[in-house]
Subunit: 198 residues, 2 copies
Amino acid sequence: MAEYILPLERLIEQFRRLPGIGQKTAVRLAFSLLDYTADEAKAFADAIIGAKEQIHSCKICHNIADGDICQVCADERRDRSTICVVEDARAVLSLERVREYNGVYHVLGGVISPMSGIGPDKLNIASLLSRLDGSVREVIIATNPTVEGEATAMYLTKKIKALGVGVSRLAYGIPVGSDLEYADEVTLMRALEGRRSM
Amino acid sequence: MAEYILPLERLIEQFRRLPGIGQKTAVRLAFSLLDYTADEAKAFADAIIGAKEQIHSCKICHNIADGDICQVCADERRDRSTICVVEDARAVLSLERVREYNGVYHVLGGVISPMSGIGPDKLNIASLLSRLDGSVREVIIATNPTVEGEATAMYLTKKIKALGVGVSRLAYGIPVGSDLEYADEVTLMRALEGRRSM
């Protein structure tokens, strides 16, 4: 017989596409779904479709949002004079978890990476600069402490300073070479407190 | 802001339910889906629904099937006088991969486990015994070498022998390619007991 019947093969293939999921794990996950009731399977499928249909990019900061603007931008208590620039929406969640930062965000959607053909024009940089209309006092750059993250921070610093807005960078409390998502809350808090003007 | 917006939270929850997927992995998988196009997300959702709708239990052996009977039972070249009894459909796939066995299968759907309230009546045992109508020469019991798998094998052996059909059990021994040093005592004892003259 063929290795897997077609509907199973399709499901395995879908799991296989996910990051960090190899063939064996994909097979295990696919088989576990066969034990789901029809309702449970439908709930899973609906969650996937729902996430895609209902999650948008915030019109102001490009964070993930279930409406036109994200929960941070919609929150009237947030301090709009400080913008924290991050690579992606996951970094926003990591920073929110600290409960220390009260400003707003700007999600770049990546970092400048000439090797991968990602120039400044492919990132949400123009929209960031257009937000610096005089009401913003400080931009905190919180790109990841990687080579590309640093290069992006340097690029942004130059652009933002030219507009007369203060720029700071998260302190090196974050272990170099790692990812914001995996930093613990205390480390992230120290990094926020120890930010230095650039 | 709340930890995650609702559609994302729902998706994370669904990934979290899968075996071996913890909170961090679930979040990573959910975020990776946000990068899918609408078509890709639909393909994933369809694969889940499709697997549930199109995969049935074989009417003869309870293996997974995309029709009424599975690919093994449908294959005319298979030897119907030998039935290999396994716990689940994944074991069928493991054995098929060997390309050595030419008989048919019977999937029990689990093992006898009084601790979990699973008695012989909850397994596909009646349908196995009803297949032993004189045309079957041998039943190979290939339940897993666990306490429950052994108990189930003992139970089946008694029932099948009573019908005058030959019963055998997969050999125990040292896995090929491993080292005696790392084999546990019970495995070594079984390997000694099962030694074959050369």
